[in-house]
Symmetry: C2
Subunit: 316 residues, 2 copies
């Protein structure tokens, strides 16, 4: 039996047929062309899904369930209540898919939660029941899985761990609070921290690196560190300390089997992961426990979302 996972993004719509070992069998995609009407977007979702099924050499009747991951807030009735970058307000996504594709078992979920589910079941989690996925990108995204299920909370807005304050009255966050983890641990925050250090250190090699790249990026301080630049070393160490602070908070609250880290910053690999693990190891509350949360790098990349969406039918 097969399932279908759909990743409805701000840029592209991807639909994939996934087998019962969580392998992607066939995919099709098309630009989202947001913002346009939900009717048009769902017509295209149906179109690429039928294409994916055809590419897989199967029939729609071979499909057990369909899952769709979307930005924004999705309620328990499969309605996308609000998705800013799609211009969606109360779009009955589930009903629109059932109508267009004739499959009864349809599940709609937030995209970060789908990605977490994908990594937990089919990726680095290898079936872990208690799992947190954290993405260090423009913001700090997260999805929390407890006992094999996504923690949606009472209003389906759960899992926003990036908006847990780690510094009372600290840096302003896009959410309106001050001092959120996201305001210290996102790639955006790292770039801000790098720029500040460059101002304070006019002789740092970071200036030259930024000139070569044409901008200050999430790599600038890491690259400077690799060249032995003291200011770069300090930026990286402080950034990793901020990232670890939120991770340790999650460990102490939930003691998941695994926390996986994704997002562009993860391309630093063990340069990031090793000191992160060291900080978590030193400060976690459960210092005497034999079993500890493992901190690992995400492995499914962009596929996590579609695979997670395809799994929704098995865990909802």
């Amino acid at each position: 039996m097969y399932t279908i996972g759909i990743d409805l993004g701000g840029t592209n719509i991807v639909s994939s047929v996934v087998d019962d070992k969580y392998n992607i069998v066939a995919s099709s995609k098309t630009p989202t062309n947001a913002i346009r009407s939900a009717e048009e977007i769902f017509d295209d979702i149906a179109k690429v899904t039928k294409e994916a099924v055809e590419k897989a050499g199967i029939e729609m009747s071979d499909i057990d369930s369909i899952g769709l991951g979307t930005p924004g807030t999705v309620n328990g009735d499969g309605i996308i209540e609000f998705a800013n970058n799609l211009g969606f307000n109360n779009v009955p996504a589930k009903d629109m898919l059932v109508e267009r594709l004739g499959v009864e078992k349809v599940f709609i979920e937030n995209d970060a939660n789908c990605a977490a589910l994908g990594e937990a079941y089919a990726g680095v989690g290898n079936g872990a029941k208690d799992f947190v996925a954290v993405t260090l990108g423009t913001g700090v995204g997260s999805g929390v899985i407890v006992d094999g299920k996504i923690v949606n909370g009472v209003n389906f807005a759960g899992g926003e761990c990036g908006h847990m304050v780690i510094m009372v009255d600290g840096e302003e966050c896009t959410c309106g609070r001050k001092g959120c983890w996201e305001a210290y641990a996102s790639a955006t925050a790292l770039i801000r921290q790098t720029k500040k250090a460059m101002e304070e250190n006019p002789d740092s090699v970071m200036h030259q690196l930024a000139k070569e790249e044409g901008k200050v990026s999430g790599r600038t301080a890491f690259d400077a560190m690799r060249k032995g630049d003291i200011a770069g070393v300090k930026v990286v160490d402080k950034y990793i300390k901020y990232v670890s602070c939120g991770l340790i908070n999650l460990v102490n609250a939930l003691q998941p089997e695994i926390i996986c880290i994704g997002g562009g910053i993860c391309n630093e690999g063990e340069t990031l992961m090793k000191p992160l693990r060291r900080y978590v190891q030193a400060e976690r509350y459960s210092i005497h426990s034999k079993i500890q949360t493992r901190i690992v790098k995400a492995e499914l990349g962009n596929d996590a979302g579609v695979i997670g969406a395809a799994i929704l039918g098995k865990v909802k």
Copy 2:
């Protein structure tokens, strides 16, 4: 059918027969007299349990399951791995109860988690499936319930939300980290904050109040506030802001149906709860959601532990 809940505390052992509506039918108690051997303590646990059953006018064969709440870390085999104030190391609590009482269904759990379960099912939670209990006492204790089950995590050390940092490099915490929520929101922290404000404000009425009470307590600043003392008002406002910071973090991560607050500070009632709710309302991430986490005062008091222990058999 009846169940038994046992609260094994550092001071007393309480055993209660609980009916299927979560009412305590009969109880018996004895001093713990810690530290002594686990054998002796479990003999006394069996004794008070048999007494409670007799008081209830029933037989041990009317008991469906037994739950025991204990300080420390309990693993999935019902072994108390470590409980500092009982002097316990790897005590096979489950087996020791089965042997002494002849009831097969026996469950052992951390006491804070039992209290959370009691409030969630039988107290202010009224059956809420997603629930967090926070206790503002010497420390900040907590128990997290997701989908009706205690979040134990991979090593049974989960739910230590008091040890989530809200201030990077902040006040030292007993756990070894700096800036934990507990170091700002416990009664101990409030007393420290009060003493600091008294030093800085020699004319504050707090000096007179502390003299009358014979000590600086968690009430000093609240009482001063009620007398219109500006320094007292500032201490209370800042303290409530710290408490709310951790609560909002929990809301953003888990969006539980209810967060209940217990512990001595709660005797302040709405003086505490109203501004707490105001802060949470203003800063939560889910500002557009129709349904919001309710912040309420715990209602079972000391009974939460035994009732929660008695419920273990229904949720494990």
